[in-house]
């Protein structure tokens, strides 16, 4: 499997280790949606640091994963988008507003804490 999904408390950490086929991406979405519900997960960290390219299909898939998980009550943070990948992603002119991204795992966990802390959440 080219995606490793680890569980740490009520957070899932999914590391994409190689370029995924379209089918694998859809499977990943279903898999995550399934597990977040079953395991009462509050946050998912999606590590894309191993990806050299994020094309428009992958970008859209990431967005749909984030949106699907949010409907299940789980926040998702993307980790490890590289500069050249970021530049390429914004060229697609997709609405990527739903994607929250940070540089590394520490930040991702901190952001998830903040997002899922009801008292501190800013509603965004």
């Amino acid at each position: 499997m080219s995606v490793a999904i680890l569980r740490q408390g009520d957070v899932l950490i999914a590391s994409i280790r190689a370029d995924l086929s379209d089918g694998q991406l859809l499977a990943l979405r279903d898999d995550l949606a399934e597990r977040t519900g079953a395991d009462r997960i509050r946050g998912v960290v999606l590590d894309v640091g191993a990806l050299d390219v994020i094309d428009s299909f992958v970008a859209r898939s990431l967005r749909s994963i984030v949106e699907a998980l949010r409907l299940r009550g789980t926040e998702t943070v993307i980790v490890g988008i590289r500069p050249d990948v970021a530049i390429a992603m914004v060229q697609f002119r997709l609405n990527l507003e739903a994607l929250r991204a940070v540089l590394d795992l520490d930040e991702a966990v901190a952001l998830l804490d903040q997002l899922t802390d009801r008292e501190d959440a800013d509603g965004g």
Partner: protein, 303 residues
């Protein structure tokens, strides 16, 4: 033609046998003549340059000393058929005169003037025997053309080199990404944003975000005179790309004129967080950092 060309390039005045190889001695003769007439011809040339109003950036004295040097190099190039010395001199001359605003047409103009001056003088000297004149032209024309091309090309190459250097320098200077404090970067943009520069700027900014682990970047465009659709879209993309790297971008220094332009252009600025001036931007950045920084990170930040 082929034989004559080779003769013009590598003359062997003394040893050449009679017959078709007569051009060697002839060229030698021609060069001797040009050496004899040196003072008269270079004065004539300098006068023609002034009459044609070329090299107006230089004084008469400067023109005369350059004219002398070029004349001597020119005759040597005719004699030896080797343009290397002349080429080196032309480069060096270009280096000196380009900063003074000498244009390409002036350089080509003066070289062609010299060609003209020499041809007229040679004609006056050899017109009595048209067959010799014919051979003189055969020897002179190709060499003179080659010299003119060499000087022109040297000048243009030198000019392009200067332009490239300046472009590099401007690129280096124009996009400083500054760290104000931990996790806070400032990118002051000054001057014209063309697509190439905008792209390079985005790359530098994203690299700096990764390197400094920035959370907030303040992009100050006070120094940007005008913003059009392309530039506006680049800004939007830069903001979006920064966000994908985990950094919030704040745009500051939008003049009222630019703000109106952006609205008129209908650029989607929904994603852009804008603050009036740099000071306000920094305050907003502090607020964001303070708000988003988890308490356990505070001590390191205070250092």
């Amino acid at each position: 033609m082929e034989t004559e060309n080779r003769e013009a390039e590598a003359p062997a005045p003394e040893a050449s046998p009679p017959g078709p190889d007569l051009d060697g001695p002839l060229l030698h003769q021609l060069v001797e003549y040009l050496r004899q007439e040196r003072s008269a011809l270079r004065e004539e040339w300098a006068r023609r340059i002034m009459d044609a109003q070329l090299l107006r950036a230089m004084t008469a004295q400067e023109i005369f000393s350059e004219v002398t040097a070029v004349y001597d190099n020119y005759v040597t190039a005719l004699e030896t058929g080797s343009v290397e010395t002349l080429q080196a001199y032309a480069r060096e001359l270009s280096e000196r005169i380009i900063p003074r605003g000498v244009e390409t047409h002036e350089v080509l103009g003066i070289v062609l003037l010299l060609r003209d001056v020499l041809a007229r003088s040679l004609f006056a000297h050899y017109q009595s025997d048209l067959r010799v004149w014919d051979r003189i032209l055969d020897a002179y024309e190709p060499a003179a053309n080659r010299i003119a091309v060499t000087v022109g090309v040297s000048f243009v190459e030198e000019r392009e080199r200067v332009i490239r250097e300046q472009q590099d320098a401007i690129r280096e200077l124009s996009t400083p990404v500054l760290q104000v404090r931990e996790r806070l970067l400032i990118l002051p943009i000054i001057g014209v944003l063309d697509p190439a520069r905008a792209r390079q700027l985005t790359e530098q900014l994203l690299g700096a975000i990764q390197h400094h682990r920035a959370r907030v970047v303040v992009i100050d465009i006070t120094g940007v005179a005008t913003v059009d659709v392309t530039v506006a879209n680049h800004l939007v993309q830069t903001v979006e790309a920064s966000r994908l790297m985990g950094a919030s971008a704040i745009i500051t220094g939008l003049s009222s004129k630019i703000a109106q332009t952006l609205v008129d252009l209908g650029v989607d600025l929904g994603m852009m967080r804008t603050v009036g001036d740099l000071q306000g931007g920094l305050e907003e950045a502090e607020r964001l950092l303070g708000h988003r920084t988890p308490p356990r990170n505070r001590p390191t930040q205070a250092e």
